[in-house]
Amino acid sequence: MQDAGRGALSIRGIVISAVLAAVAILLGATRVGFIPTPTGIAATIMHVPAIIGGVLEGPVVGAIIGTIFGVYSFFYATVPMFKDPIVAIAPRIFIGIFAAWTYWSLRRMSELWAIVLAAIVGTATNTVLVLGFGVARHYLPAKVAWVVGITHGIPEVVVAVILSVAVLLPWKRAHRGQARARV
């Protein structure tokens, strides 16, 4: 990409950020991205597009998707905690960045494990930072945050890993020409 060298966003970066941000917005707007859990607080998979964007196109794209997702969730939040820009926007910027760094540092070892760990790190970034800022802003007592972190963090990690691997592994293989039809 010739304009990637100029420091600006490449065409690929622009479009992939946009379509994945659109997926995140769609998951939020249609409530498809919220999975109800027995505790009453929904687990979310809305952060997965940021992870996928970070793995595919690097930290900048991941940060852009996360920021758009954060701004959207701030503007249309119905949960009091997420109607606070510090809790809603700031943590989301880092999801894609940390996921991309994890993937980059591990991809030489194994493509699969790099994606798995990127999904785990990205989801953990979201959960830890959102709950951390929630505690810092006094929306949640620390004890409750721990419980929510464990009861929601773990299912979110599992779903994020499955979704990221299911999307990214075939996509990467197909683009490298390694994909084979299997019956």
Partner: protein
Amino acid sequence: MNEFELLRNITIGQYLPADSYLHRLDPRAKILAAILVIAAVTFTPSLVGNACLLAAALALVRVGRIPLAYALRGLVPAVPLLVLLAVMQLLFFGRNYDPTSSVVFQWRWLAVTIVVTAAVLKLVVVSAARFIELLLVTSVFTLSTKTTELTLGIESLLRPFRRLRVPAHELALVVTIAVRFVPTLALEAERLMKAQASRGGRFGGGRWHFVTRVRQLLPILVPLVTYALRRGEELIVAMEARAYTGGTGRTAYTVLASGPGDWLAVCIAAAFLAAMLLAPFPA
């Protein structure tokens, strides 16, 4: 069949046409003013300050000529969550939050002690007030700004940062494409859900069936993301074929023009933020 109608339930960029000062405001000035007011709400911890902010938010709704009921639509589904938040804060914070504060209420039963201090009560009120204020401010902003105005405003505001290699035009384009893609993807998601349903797939199920829900969702989500990426690849080829070169040297069809009236709004918002941060509120 209601569950398949995704497109109809999407609320993004809901513009409410009206002839008001806020609707006519230059989007750049409006974005800056909104950021300042949101900052004022976010960083004001006092009761009196929040009363002022609530009054200011209501005044904004009035200035924007938006029906109050319309601006407060988000409040009804949030009431149970507000109550939950208040109960949680009352039950769990106790003396951990500001131990010097006086105890208002104490209740002991076996090993369980519930202590409510004045500081926690204040926290509950401020959290709820802050939510309502932000709800009003963000509603007024989204209801009085078109998405095209918003992207133009973002691009124009980021332009001075081009020297720091911030791609202003490209970021505005990302927002435009994202907003444009949401309905397309919603249609595709509907198609995928119907395809699953026609093969016997079922959606829904209560909160006790988390694993089932996830297993139902994955056959929708994986193809949806892949579809988005594939459409993205097509768009990349289309843009490259048309020699898209980014923002340098590009002129715009719509040129934003702002007058003193627009920057007055920013000045008022800045003065308001300064007043909120510096005023020695008694409580």
